[in-house]
Assembly symmetry: C2
Homo-oligomer: 287 residues x 2
């Protein structure tokens, strides 16, 4: 799996470069490219591997993989803004508004979102029906019922100063990070013209395990390891899976969810080996 | 035409309400609804009237009309932010970040953009081919080569303190406000499955006339009339069509462009009466 992940990382980096190559030169395009650089590319990996399950080749699935990475990049740029999480470090580099300025960061995020939807119109993906279905699903996952709603809840809880309880955190993370992971892991079924439901269970558990692992890293890892400031949640008195469950119980839950995610892939047999491996990877990663 | 514009304004308001009705209650949804309220709905009018030219009914074209209005609303919310144009008044009301806060305004803008693309997936619009073509065109018009690029250029010029010359202002406005107007005025041809080229000339002239009229209003109208702060461009030493051409020449240019826009509609005969009338309306409006 790790060989395949590295292959995906290289291919996605090249495809992102190509997707942004024709934009007018200037700060806006530079900031977009900067924001879209780096990262583990787990979401792109999920798109490409779920596509393979249904016989859809990397070439066809790549614009969808790039779209979800650009969408994710936009969310990071906006979340890092001073009015939001106010972060100055991301993927080991100064955040976009530090490197340029707030206006450029807002606009680069805006245009990265737009570019994500533009990519879903690429005919190489397949029939128009599949492409427009992906548009609807990406919008649902990332908009006012999905990712953006989750971020709004997160900020509201921090502003109110009343830490959330476990069901509230689960609902928040289900939307904030889970929805885009669900989109990614089910995209292959949409491209393949089949029912995405069997992959939903995999993606739901993977998404939550992913977030628990993030909370664990925030306590156990250094900024050098993760490329972003750590220990922020604790300093802010923010409720996380770790603060609510303790480190051991959080680890146990994440492992149980990964097991459930792996089991959900049984119908796909050996062909889902990489999807099983990436589920284990998200809780064993050190960055 | 004015009767039809009022009819469109009422129908679009109801359709926006319906499009946002199912979102989770809270500040985010409230801010989205607030930002999408009011306005002249010229873009929606262009969508619905260009659709009529090709026999596409209001019912089918309405999600596209709403999409372009939500896209426009998102751009206003983000443009008004302190890091951008720093405006506190819009459509006669406090801007979104004044009424709520910056984080809510950023997220509401983000989600309005997402919702715009979501609406284009509505099957009532027509075949999947037409819907995905609209996605590609809306992304092209509003992204890093269109509206967002124009706004980035505008801010860069203001930051640099060197006023733009006429060709630079035309290029900027062609992107910043023109691209979305071109999308709107050609959307009907895409829905009708015909060549949008004949409407491009209409839309190009209309878009520039619209912006010149805006610059004229910034000098001649009061905030009570326009619902936004006026005289800002002059105070900022910003180059506009009026500062470069003078008021009389700017008026003459706008009128000449409206005449060209009207002439471009000749192939459509009387059926384009409302599109001709709206072109005259944009330079005679007082708000």
């Amino acid at each position: 799996m790790e060989h395949r992940l590295e292959e995906v990382q290289r291919a996605v980096a090249a495809a992102i470069e190509a997707a942004l190559a024709d934009l007018p030169p200037g700060d806006l395009t530079d900031a977009m490219r900067y924001a879209a650089t780096g990262g583990k590319r787990v979401r792109a990996f999920l798109v490409l591997e779920s596509a393979r399950l249904f016989g859809v080749e990397d070439l066809s699935a790549m614009p969808v993989a790039v779209a979800v990475e650009l969408l994710h990049a936009y969310s990071l740029v906006h979340d890092d803004l001073p009015a939001m999480d106010d972060d100055d470090l991301r993927r080991g580099q100064p955040t976009c508004h530090i490197r340029w300025n707030e206006a450029t960061a807002i606009l680069a995020g805006d245009a990265l979102q737009t570019q994500a939807f533009a990519l879903l119109a690429d005919p190489v993906i397949g029939p128009a029906e599949a492409r427009i279905a992906l548009v609807a699903r990406l919008a649902e996952a990332s908009g006012a019922r999905g990712m953006v709603w989750g971020q709004a809840q997160d900020i509201a809880a921090e502003t109110a100063g009343t830490p959330l309880d476990l069901p509230a955190i689960e609902a928040l993370q289900h939307a904030k990070t889970g929805a885009l992971i669900r989109f990614s892991a089910t995209a292959g079924a949409i491209m393949g013209g089949t029912d995405p439901a069997p992959l939903e269970e995999y993606a739901r558990n993977l998404g939550l395990a992913f977030q628990i692992a993030d909370d664990i890293l925030d306590v156990t890892a250094s900024a050098e390891q993760t490329g972003k400031r750590t220990g922020k949640d604790e300093a802010a008195g923010k409720a996380t899976f770790v603060s609510l469950l303790g480190l051991d119980e959080a680890r146990a839950r994440a492992a149980a969810m990964v097991a459930r995610a792996e089991a959900a892939l049984d119908p796909y047999g050996d062909r889902a080996g990489n999807l099983r491996a990436v589920a284990r990877f998200v809780i064993h990663r050190r960055t």
